[in-house]
């Protein structure tokens, strides 16, 4: 047994895996003595997910030696989605047999359900992360952000995200009409804006929607980082971990 971890809440981990599955269908977790991490791009290389869950999130954590575990994220989510509210989760990875054991335990009822999932071949090469600096940063309410994205998708395939010193805006233009949502500084939808100039870029709504929907159930706020016509970074602050996404822009 190369790796064993016990988490207090199985359905929370299920939400995390669901958030990863927004971008990738299969992925490689890198696990060492301090955390489990995954960085992966979607097949079209337009979006990237950067996930990390540190040892401190777990009630029990042991890792004899660093391992790489490639699994089908969709299949893993299917198993985890069976988790009930009060169940805890044990993950065990056997790197000789190349299988992951998922145990859903309910201490109150003394029941234990276990699944094993065969690991996949690890694809060669590590996912590089783009080197990016951002000119603007805003913290927004995740619900309001989801509404803005859903509104925009009524008129177009993509939306222009703007961070100005006084507001965060989403504007879209389609064949039949336009849409705009403004989160004005000082209101309830935006908590903080850090920028000294206006920056904006266009992004595919399909990608934004896929990422924001599951992210919203994990965190109440979303941190948006942006530069003009460069990738956007969306971060969902989670306890003892990290969940960030990058999406490449569309340039007209």
């Amino acid at each position: 047994m190369a790796f064993r971890m016990r988490l207090p809440s199985a359905d929370y981990f299920a939400d995390l895996v669901k958030a990863i599955s927004a971008v990738v269908e299969e992925g490689t977790f890198t696990i060492d003595g301090s955390s489990m991490r995954l960085t992966s791009m979607d097949p079209a290389h337009i979006s990237l997910v950067n996930f990390e869950l540190s040892k401190s999130a777990a009630e029990e954590y042991s890792c004899e030696r660093p391992v790489e575990m490639t699994v089908s994220i969709n299949e893993l989510y299917k198993l985890l989605s069976r988790a009930r509210k009060n169940e805890s989760l044990i993950l065990e990875y056997d790197d000789e047999k190349k299988n992951l054991t998922v145990i859903l335990a309910n201490p109150a009822a003394s029941t234990e359900r276990s699944f094993t999932l065969n690991a996949l071949e690890t694809a060669t090469g590590k996912t590089a992360t783009p080197n990016l600096t951002f000119e603007a940063r805003a913290r927004v309410n995740a619900d309001a952000l989801k509404d803005a994205i859903e509104d925009a998708s009524l008129v177009s395939d993509y939306t222009k995200v703007t961070i100005a010193p006084d507001a965060v805006m989403f504007s879209s233009k389609g064949e039949l009409g336009t849409h705009q949502t403004r989160f004005i500084r000082g209101g309830t939808a935006v908590y903080e804006i850090e920028t000294d100039k206006e920056v904006s870029a266009n992004f595919s709504l399909t990608y934004l929607e896929k990422i924001i929907k599951p992210g919203k159930s994990l965190a109440d706020e979303t941190v948006i980082e942006l530069s003009t016509n460069r990738p956007i970074k969306l971060a969902f602050p989670i306890p003892s971990g990290k969940l960030e996404y990058l999406i490449a822009p569309r340039i007209e």
Partner: protein
């Protein structure tokens, strides 16, 4: 796994696929044997009269079990049998060979199909009724089966044209159906039909991998022989055709998305039966777009539908069944090459076409992809060649294409990794 979706065929697709015939002025319901030019080459009037005047009609069924969509969930179900010989009966369903035959011959063969229909709720497919069992036994054969149908009244001799499925000839309510020989059922069909725990999607894929032809799978699905017990019902043939194209396409797509990209811009084209299918492959992750043009009193269209990366599948409202019919051969081709590409299909229909079904897109795309492609280094060269080959109306599509727009505007994260 999802419940299969069944889509009604009303809407723009049905409005475009209409019979344009000077005799009946586009209302094939009023066709009659005397005036219909399509019926003329058929059996002589006397021979037809003789065949249809007796109480029962005997002939080879390709086999065909046809399920109508009108009145769903209470639909017309029944066998079709050929009034010609067995050789013609075998051709009557074999869409893969129809391109070689040409319109007149296809019409001859299809309009000599007699349809013995009976109203039945779709859920009757699960019942042990004698009539249902006979239909299902017939559907399981892969070779023509001699069949006898007792008719309640004299058949109506007019053509039944449809949007996605091929037309048929005389039809009448059937009292009784009997199979006159033992149908030969391959073991794989027997096994899949007997398995009432296997989902319809898995069954379709299993039969496809085993090498069955699409129209055999369509018939089995229509007859309510595939899927879990609760899923089994009569599926209108028109919906079944699209469902099968879609299910097989989706499972191929899953594999194609893992392949490496092609390296050039490729262009394939083929025409026949007053239709033309042109396929362009671009070195990009899997995306797909169909643009349909009708050449009828000038050009109408493009009617377009597309799928971009990560997008959820939705029903192609504008193109309809042709979308899945043309996507399947493209995915088959990429799967065979072990390559990935973005695909664009331009389909054109000229006057002279009469609605014989969506199979022509599937077969023309297959014929196109079997040929040698033209290779280009960039999109500009590809587009200028396409414009030359297809015509100026292509620009109507270029302006509105979601795939081209995505290609031109969407950047990849790779750009910031160097």
């Amino acid at each position: 796994m999802k419940q299969l979706k069944l889509h009604a065929t009303t809407g723009p697709e049905a409005r475009r696929e209409r019979v344009e015939c000077p005799e009946c002025r586009g209302v094939p319901r009023y066709c009659s044997l005397n005036v219909c030019p399509y019926f003329r080459g058929l059996l002589s009037r006397e021979a037809l009269e003789r065949k249809l005047s007796s109480e029962s009609v005997f002939g080879p069924s390709p086999p065909t079990v046809f399920v109508g969509s009108y009145g769903y969930p209470k639909v017309r179900v029944g066998p079709m049998l050929s009034l010609l010989d067995e050789e013609h009966a075998a051709l009557a369903e074999d869409t893969q060979r129809w391109l070689e035959l040409g319109l007149d011959k296809i019409l001859d063969i299809r309009l000599s199909m007699l349809y013995g229909r009976r109203y039945s709720p779709v859920t009757a497919a699960r019942s042990q009724e004698r009539h249902v069992m006979i239909l299902q036994e017939l559907a399981m054969s892969l070779k023509p089966v001699d069949t006898e149908v007792w008719l309640e009244k004299r058949p109506l001799v007019r053509a039944g044209f449809q949007v996605r499925a091929a037309p048929f000839g005389p039809s009448a309510p059937a009292k009784r159906v009997q199979i006159a020989e033992n149908p030969q059922v391959p073991r794989i069909v027997d096994r899949v039909a007997a398995d009432t725990d296997m989902k319809a999607e898995a069954s379709v894929n299993k039969l496809y991998t085993a090498g069955l032809r699409e129209y055999d799978i369509v018939r089995l699905l229509s007859a309510g022989l595939l899927g879990t017990r609760i899923e089994r019902r009569f599926v209108p043939t028109e919906w079944s055709i699209t469902a099968v194209d879609d299910i097989i396409g989706k499972s191929l797509r899953k594999n194609v998305k893992r392949n490496v990209l092609i390296s050039d811009f490729l262009f394939y084209t083929a025409s026949g039966v007053h239709n033309r299918v042109s396929v362009a492959l671009l070195p990009l992750p899997w995306m797909f777009e169909v643009a349909e043009f009708w050449h009828r009193n000038g050009v109408s269209g493009p009617f377009m539908d597309s799928e971009l990366p990560l997008e959820r599948d939705r029903y192609p409202e504008n193109v309809g069944g042709a979308y899945h019919a043309v996507r399947l051969p493209i995915l088959e081709h990429l799967h065979k090459l072990r390559r990935q590409a973005a695909a664009i299909a331009v389909i054109e229909i000229w006057p002279g076409w009469i609605p014989l079904g969506v199979w022509r897109f599937r077969e023309l795309a297959r014929r196109a992809l079997a040929g040698e492609p033209r290779r280009f280094d960039d999109l500009k060269e590809l587009l200028s060649h396409m414009r030359e080959s297809i015509g100026r109306h292509l620009d109507l599509w270029v302006r509105r294409s979601r795939v081209l727009r995505f290609y031109e505007e969407q950047r990849s994260l790779g750009l910031w990794m160097r």
